[in-house]
């Protein structure tokens, strides 16, 4: 086998794979944030906590009710998305007319409450979640061994990203959403229930976070702080991709995960900071982000 700059190919491909997996999580999480930001103009700080909640709900479904991974993949996002809709109705709606920084502060407070609740009941140590039987094992690709579940994460993330893109860009519901993003007053003058649309959108964005959480449960340990630092990296991803840009979130998520993985191979010291450095560069060259509209 060939060697690249003295790096054994197994290590290289391994890190590329890890990078893509991280990128899959970045993409799904930043996609949820972008969908919410597009219509509500708020940054959902609680996104990381709701991602954690998605993983925990999957664990609870399995532990207390024996509901397996496949069902949890659907049920957990529905439950967490429902909680998200309640949050929007009760807490975020009263702030709708105010400066959007208040919504950021509110969702920050919410993050503390959610994280605190789970810590209180489950402690900070991780809960194991088994990989579903059908997805255990590895495939030998010749140049490397590919764990099936890891490939599954990437495939699922791609499907969900494409599905969300299709829903927003190509369907009637999506056209309501885009129209309401542009001019909510006009949309309400057509008889469309914009407050309901806002609630559903927030719920959908939150459900995406929970979906990412369920996908993460078998590979990362399920614990109350699992979303803490991840979410800040995701913020950087959407600053780079462009606030509210669906394409920016998806492409930015995967490619930055990949860049991070490659950095781990060639210059491991910088692997946790590389995304922030890229963010600084993007801010210098195109402050509205790569796919962003001018702000």
């Amino acid at each position: 086998m060939f060697e690249l700059l003295g790096i054994p190919p197994q290590a290289l491909f391994g890190q590329v794979l890890l990078g893509l997996i991280n990128g899959a999580f970045y993409a799904v999480l930043s996609l949820g944030l972008a969908v919410i930001f597009g219509l509500l103009n708020i940054i959902n700080f609680a996104h990381g906590a709701l991602y954690m909640m998605g993983a925990f709900v999957a664990w609870m479904l399995l532990t207390y009710l024996g509901i397996p991974f496949w069902a949890a993949l659907v049920v957990s996002p529905l439950i967490v998305g429902g909680i998200g809709m309640v949050i929007e109705r009760t807490l975020l709606r009263p702030l709708h007319e105010l400066d959007h920084l208040y919504s950021l502060l509110l969702t920050f407070g919410l993050t503390l409450v959610i994280a605190g609740l789970f810590q209180n009941f489950y402690g900070v140590s991780g809960k194991p979640y088994p990989i579903p039987a059908a997805l255990t094992g590895v495939i030998n690709l010749g140049f490397m061994f590919l764990p099936i579940y890891r490939a599954f994460i990437i495939v699922m993330a791609v499907i969900v990203c494409f599905g969300t893109w299709f829903l927003i860009e190509k369907t009637r519901l999506g056209s309501y959403l885009r129209a309401a993003t542009e001019n909510p007053e006009m949309v309400s003058a057509f008889g469309i229930n914009v407050p309901m649309l806002i609630t559903l959108t927030y719920g959908f964005g939150v459900a995406l976070a929970a979906f990412a959480g369920v996908l993460a449960a078998p590979v990362y340990s399920v614990n109350p702080v699992m979303g803490n630092d991840l979410i800040i990296v995701v913020f950087a991803v959407i600053v780079i991709g462009g606030m509210g840009s669906i394409i920016g979130a998806i492409l930015g998520g995967f490619s930055l995960g990949l860049v991070e993985g490659l950095t781990k191979v060639f210059y491991p010291e910088a692997s946790t900071t590389i995304i922030f450095v890229i963010m600084a560069l993007v801010l210098l060259l195109k402050p509205s982000g790569i796919f962003g509209r001018e702000v």
């Binding site: 009637r172 056209s175 309501y176 885009r178 129209a179 993003t181 542009e182 001019n183 007053e185 006009m186 949309v187 309400s188 003058a189 057509f190 008889g191 469309i192 229930n193 914009v194």
Partner: protein, 249 residues
Amino acid sequence: MTHTTEHPGTIAPASQSGTMLEVSGLNGWYGESHVLHDVSLRVDAGEVVTLLGRNGAGKTTTLKAIMGLLKNRSGSIRFQGSELIDAPARTIAKMGVGYVPDDRGIFGSLSVMENLLLPPKVAEGGFELPAIYELFPNLKERLDSYGNKLSGGEQQMLSIARILRTGARFMLMDEPTEGLAPVIIHQIGRTVRRLKKAGFTILLVEQNFHFARELADRHYIVQEGRVIDEIRNDEVTDNLGKIQGYLGI
């Protein structure tokens, strides 16, 4: 302005004659400032009625208040017998009030087709797409273009066309001729006449008096947020001096 108030006891179907819209004692506020003062007006089924007045007289605000887009309002707005003063815009739209705003309200990030299909149907009997293309041939050519790529005239036609599809029989039209070339204005005038013939009821805000007198049955004069006069179209010739005084033309 005097006319007796008739409250239809039951909700009359759109096709019947009688009062369609009855606004009385309508007041409106933008924040602290009181912008509409006891506005009263009436539109009968099948009529084209205009609100005439100078810039900033409160014509657009009156339409917005009727549509529920000016939220801070009081008084009475009865549409086909139902009180709308506390209803949100979406309820008013669902009752069959179509809104063609002064900025045309075209969504730039949506294609022409998506703009056309956006407003949900509110009643049976709306125009089918072929009928719309027949009325506005230009739009058919541009279905895949994005809203922000359209000319002003095309945007205006799209803004009217998408309401026709919904089945609404009553339209609030805000200065459809503003900033358009004479040939386009002519086309829009023809469209409004065809709609009237088809039984549509239209409350039209206009600054272009010549356009308005070609189409309307009656005119209300709006000044400083008040309705100060009502003139039937067949009396216009006798009152030209007065109207020119109101409008400053």
